[in-house]
Assembly symmetry: C2
Homo-oligomer: 236 residues x 2
């Protein structure tokens, strides 16, 4: 009876924290889309909205950290329950970082607002952003449903984001070489592309955490993380 | 008597984990310096050594995660003791990411090895790397000694790294505009500079975690994180 009581108190705590994670995830998803839209529309007001939303995202992470620490202290969970809470902390940290990248894109919009658009770049960046947002949505669903297969599916899709990024990187190099007046704009747009690519990496890391949570095993052949800019020495 | 026994078991666990963190930190410090050296000397063998060392760093993070989770489960620490363990997890995660950036620099060395050097860039990158390594060393010392003042000192020094990065960014833009044949090399060198700048950010985040651990308060006016590339529209 006591055991049951302790267990359900823990369950209630975890449920409350999961609600916060979902709220945070929804805000981050929105930030990704709005950041890309603010760039495409050169909409500084929208960019400012993304920057402000990041403060709410940061505050949610702090609250999740506090709630998880309190739950660990009060309920002293072990094994799978403890792992669930430690996973929540990691997911929140990743969401916070994805939110930061969205904010960076929004901030950079103000730098490119007066520059001539670079052929096709806005469309390509927006497509990348939509793909990453969809990956994040599925990652959050995979967490809610304890669905390792869906998380594995997200992992695989990150390769498409990487390919989009690599193609853009080569295009930017070409544009810069063709006309030095493109250099500054291309550097900024390239930063944005890199930010989106990193969001994809972080989303993939989240999926790997979820696979570990559900199956107890990290996925085989953990994906390479970090900098995956192609080492081209010459654009095609 | 039982309390004392539990307490000292916790202390022994924390001490063992701290030893792992220090070992990991030492390896990451070395990786930062060697990565910059492999670039300056165009030494691919050294670059390969940095890449291999990153596997050891990653393995140490996993071990720290497991040991910390086991300690939480076995000792059920609360308040300050729990905070210490959660901080250890965050420090290990940051060290792992700094190690990744060092590995990325080493990987990229192979891309620039056959390109003509860009005036002064190697020297500047090496100076940045040394500064970040010194910051990391002091951060680890601050953790060992529970020294919030030293951690605060590290935080302040990150501005110097940011200034070095900003100066380099402007130089690269100028070089690229002067001669399009510099573009590819400058893009690679710029990535390396950005990687070092991010290492400085992560080291600063570690210092903030230590300040929080020691004082119970996050430093006022938390530093801006993430992308701090200057929004120049024109190089001077």
């Amino acid at each position: 009876m006591i055991d049951q009581h302790i267990s359900s108190a823990y369950d209630r705590d975890l449920e409350a924290i999961t609600t916060l994670i979902m709220k945070m995830g929804g805000l981050v998803e929105e930030a990704i889309l709005l950041a890309a839209q603010s760039l495409a529309d050169r909409d500084l007001e929208l960019a400012e909205k993304v920057r402000k939303a990041d403060k709410v995202i940061d505050a949610l992470e702090l609250q999740i950290n506090e709630d998880a620490a309190r739950t660990i202290a009060l309920r002293a969970p072990v094994s799978k329950d403890l792992r669930a809470l430690l996973t929540v902390l990691r997911l929140a940290a990743s969401l916070e970082r994805i939110g930061d990248y969205a904010k960076n894109i929004a901030k950079r919009t103000s730098a490119v607002v007066d520059m001539p658009p670079v052929s096709g770049a806005d469309v390509a960046l927006r497509r990348m952003a939509r793909e990453v947002q969809a990956m994040l949505k599925d990652t959050l669903d995979a967490y809610m449903r304890y669905d390792a297969d869906l998380a594995e599916d997200v992992r695989q899709r990150d390769q498409e984001v990487d390919q989009m990024y690599n193609a853009l990187f080569r295009e930017f190099l070409t544009f810069m070489m063709e006309d030095p007046r493109n250099i500054t704009a291309c550097m900024h747009l390239h930063f944005m592309a890199k930010n989106i690519e990193r969001m994809g990496d972080l989303t993939t890391n989240m999926s790997e955490q979820i696979i570990y949570l559900v199956t107890g095993e990290m996925p085989e052949e953990a994906r390479p993380k970090g900098d995956k800019t192609p080492f081209v020495t010459d654009p095609e």
